[in-house]
Subunit: 171 residues, 2 copies
DNA sequence: TATGGTGATGTCAGCAACTGACATCGCTTG
DNA sequence: CAAGCGATGTCAGTTGCTGACATCACCATA
């Protein structure tokens, strides 16, 4: 992260990262599948959190309500360490390769949400659509959260985006 | 495409592609930004079609209706040449690298849709959410369309997914 | 204590994707 | 016919990434 911040992602070679870490290039690739993965290794934990929250949602909750609870829980988590999120996002926003990885990780989250909903008895395409919609909501809320101008807390921004979704699609 | 079909994407080197095409490796990279881009160069035309359809939608149409018209137009286009779409999708589904590229191209389409909606006077976050939702609908419909079992036409599948979205998010 | 197993790291050689710099060739245009 | 221009070839080089094998620290147990 330090090197990516100093020189930018593209100008940072794996050799340089390894050197700074006091390790070998080969060792780097044993810990991270590729150069990009450094920035995304946290996605697994996030997925566990989201899936867990959906699973634990009361049976009375509608699919979208269950997803909303999961998003809020994730929002609370991100509130810890906002500075890191901002820096990370700056690096990603400056590089298309990284955006590809980010976007597919998000797609993976959507799929995991859908799967968790199916285990609650939600049928397709409702499950898939709810997963996709939930991630879209999160993405938009997160975007606003990292923008300097906005001082609202993330869970609040999630609720805002969620009601906007209902307005747009309702009918 | 032929080589990707024969040996799979990973086992096909750019050198092999260039040889089959009777060109140089260097020339390949002048036509395609990277090895993956071969399968996605058509995305630009699709984007133009979608954006054009949204722009041409009657002013009375709601954001989601305008987006739906665009999706249906794209659906008609894909109905030509279903075989090619199926083969292409088989290659992509077999390779994570390609899925990354596909997913970010779809994100690009969503952004373009949102931008076209904004030019119609739709505000954010409604514009962004409608763009994302529309692409989600398209993705799900397309998935079903390429599946062997389904014999419905794509525009019809799009309408199905669309009404499912309304059911899920309505309220 | 010696022995052997296990997991993390190092070493090395090599492939394949991609790039920059420069040369060449064919076609069009004045 | 000369000049210009776009597409292609040539070549050398960097970087990401992998497989195979060696080493080393640590731990369990005979």
């Amino acid at each position: 992260m330090a090197l990516y911040g100093e020189r930018g992602y593209e100008n940072t070679t794996v050799a340089a990262i390894a050197e700074r870490a006091g390790l070998t290039e080969r060792t780097f690739f044993r810990h991270f599948a590729d150069k990009r993965e450094v920035l995304f290794s946290g996605a697994a934990a996030l997925q566990d959190l989201l899936v867990g929250a959906i699973t634990d949602a009361p049976r009375s909750a509608t699919p979208l309500e269950a997803a909303a609870m999961a998003l809020r829980a994730a929002g609370e988590l991100f509130e810890q360490g906002r500075a890191g999120s901002v820096q990370r996002q700056r690096v990603i926003d400056a590089n298309p390769e990284l955006q590809e990885r980010e976007v597919i990780k998000l797609a993976g989250l959507a799929a995991a949400l859908a799967e968790a909903l199916r285990r609650r008895g939600v049928k397709d395409p409702a499950a898939s659509l709810t997963g996709e919609a939930a991630i879209a909501v999160f993405r938009i809320a997160f975007e606003r959260w990292v923008a300097e101008s906005n001082r609202k807390r993330l869970p609040r921004l999630i609720d805002d985006a969620l009601s906007a979704l209902k307005t747009v699609a309702g009918g």
